[in-house]
Each structure stands twice: as C-alpha cells, then as structure tokens.
Symmetry: C2
Amino acid sequence: MTDIDPTAAYPVTPRNRVKRLHERGRYDRASVWAVLDSAMLCHVAYVIDGQPYCTPTIHWRDGDTLYWHGSSASRMLRHLEQGMAACLTVSHLDGLVLARCGFNHSVDYHSAMCFGTARSIDDPQEKRVALDRMIDRYYPGRAATLRTSTAQEIKATTVVAMVIEDASAKVRTKGVGDDPEDMDLPIWAGIIPVRTVIGEAAISPHVPAGVERPADLAVYRPGRDFAEALAEAQAIYEGK
Amino acid sequence: MTDIDPTAAYPVTPRNRVKRLHERGRYDRASVWAVLDSAMLCHVAYVIDGQPYCTPTIHWRDGDTLYWHGSSASRMLRHLEQGMAACLTVSHLDGLVLARCGFNHSVDYHSAMCFGTARSIDDPQEKRVALDRMIDRYYPGRAATLRTSTAQEIKATTVVAMVIEDASAKVRTKGVGDDPEDMDLPIWAGIIPVRTVIGEAAISPHVPAGVERPADLAVYRPGRDFAEALAEAQAIYEGK
C-alpha cells in the first residue's frame, strides 16, 4: 500500500469545491477514503465526443489511486489510450428526511467525488497485480486460493488507474431541517433510515462436496451492514 | 401522468447500445422504468468546460420525462440555460459473485442509463407542480398535507427536466460463470446477496404530541426492501 498521510487534505480547486451547502464538504483524505472504502459500487463520468456517460462499476483503492476494470471491448475503456478526464463518485443513501414543507424534505447521505485522469494499465504483469488486489481488497487473502488467471484472461481485461488529483466528501446528517415557524404544524416529520445489508450466501451448485466457506468471506456475515463489511475488508487488506 | 406505451422500445443508437455483454441489454420502456422507479438515488453525468462531473441526486419520473432538483446555486444547475447533454444512471447492486478464478468474479446488478438534454423549468407554477409531484411520487398524497411552499422557496429551487431520448437497461443475474474446466476445483464459489432495507422511522422531536404517522408512509415498513417500497409508491402515484 502506498504510504500517504490520511489526515492530509486534497487541494481545493474550482472543480471539487463544494458549492452548494459548503458546510457539508470535507477535503481530507480520511473522509474521502472512508466513503470510497465502504462501497463496492461507484459511478464514473467521462466524455466521448462531447457526450457525457455515467457508467456504474466496482472500484478499488490503493492510497491515492483508484482502480476499476472491464472488458477491453467496453465503450469507456476503448478511449483510454491518451488518458481521459474522469469523475468517480460514490454515494451512500442513509435516510429519507420528511419535513413540514416540501422545500425542507431531503435525504441523509454521504458521498465522495474524485477527479483525475483515467489511464489504462498496459503491462500484463502490472494488470495481474492490480486484479489480484481487487480480489484481495474485497475478499482478503482470496487471490492466492484461486486458479491463476490465464494470459488470455489478463489480455481481455482492461484495468484503469486514476490518481486522485482532487476530491471532496459531502455528508448530510443534520436531522429534519424544519423552519422555526413550521415547528408547531400538526404534520408528521422525521427520518426513515435505509441501509444495505448482506444476505445468506448461496454456494454454487457446481462446487464439489466438502468445500467449506473460506475465511476470506468472514466479514460478509448475513444480516450485517454491507458498508461496514466493506470497510473492514479494506482494513484487513491494508494490514490494519 | 403522460400516456406512453411501456412496451415500446427506445431507439437504439451508438450511445445507448449495450456494447459489452450485449445479451444483458434491454431497450423497452418497461425494463428501463422498472430500474428507475425502484430507486431514489441516481447519478447524473454532465460536462462543464470539458470536465466531466458525476453528481448524485434524487430523481422522479413522469412518463418519458426525468426530473431532478437542487439549489439554484449548485454547479450543475447554473449551466442549464441552453440545455445540457446529460446521462442519468440508476444502479442496483444485487449480489457479489465469487468464482473459481479472478476473471469470473462479478456482481449481480441491474441498472439503467438514460440520455437526453437537461433543461431547467423556469415557470414558477410549473416548478411548483413538479416539486409537488416529487413529494407525491415518494410519499403518495403527502404534498396536499404540507405547508405550501413560498414563492421564495420555489425561486431558490432549480428543477431540471430531461426527456429520455434513448436509454438502456442492463441486468446480470446469471449465477456464477465458472469455466467448465474449473468446475471440479475445490474452491468456494457462490453468490452473496445484498439488498437495501428500510429501518424504523424516527419522528422529529419538534413534532407536536398526538401527530400520527400518516398513510403516505405506509409503504416504508421497517424491514421491507427499499426498492420494492419505491416501486409500490410509484405505482400508487400513477394510480395503478
């Protein structure tokens, strides 16, 4: 793992400065990384011939470098030769906020936007290492237990790396924001929380009898908060 | 609600054609709308001065028109005067797919990408109607129970409308995709499902005693699947 001070802040630039409700903004690495590391799904914005695309994918992180991957045939990944401006965003919806007027309805959330230049990793050995990291970041220790990827599999996969040049995290947790003059109105207001939880794992019917669920899946206990499990897996992966 | 045949397909164009794993692609409105209507959170990609941004927000839908909103001060919303190319994506992560080799690891998901031109709604009355629809789409019947929005509140809110010009849905549910020659390897493979569930609502401490939880929140029962609740709220809102 790259050794970067997590308390150090990203530079604040015109593109990452939180303009709307700036009191919700954070620029330190620890805040941004906490959002990234507790999610598997991200969305990447990029531009091809002036057209914006918003592609969902899974990401992984090593220090200030974000990674994602896909087929060498995919739209985004075929345009990476020269490096491509990208914005990778992770968002967690935490709750529905109901107020006494429409204007003060909101949602609780925490999110991170990361800006940089996405580049494909071309060296096969470097790709192999990055893909093993993807497996081990989600399932710590699992890569070494798997059938080794073939050269053809490595070739068919495009791995993208993006050093985070600037980033921001944004958090809303302030409760219901009713106006003082609305407080006595006889209207229900409150917060309905939502969270993503892990279900019961289903073993593939093709796995030979006697194969036990491995230790690398221990963090994904049924009923557990998925974001917590992902953050724990990242901490194990980083050796913390 | 706009009356559009949900079985009719969107045109397939170079930008919405599913290039990677095209057998997962769907272009009919019912498939796209089902993904949109079972989510509150979306991500919108847009471009300002060549820089892509990926902004999380909540969306609502009336026929082929998608809406989102924000402060009139926000970055995206200040660039809408001339209409702005945008891509709105909704993604549901359904499960982690673990295989016998790294290459066949995947995730189960369903997602939709919608392309169009985002425009702000400028007429105050039209904005008011759209914002009431946002409330009623999420909490059917609630708008009429709220303190009416002031002219200042309407002015401070930018509402964006985007007619879906083309769109695609993509679904992965095929189970573990192990290669035939990997089937006998003594490695655990399977699927770990994840889902987003509703928690126990917490009433705001400022609500006067005696105010009951209203019927418009009935779909958000604790423990219920959040995507199901959102789809049901949309169906109620559409009068189905």
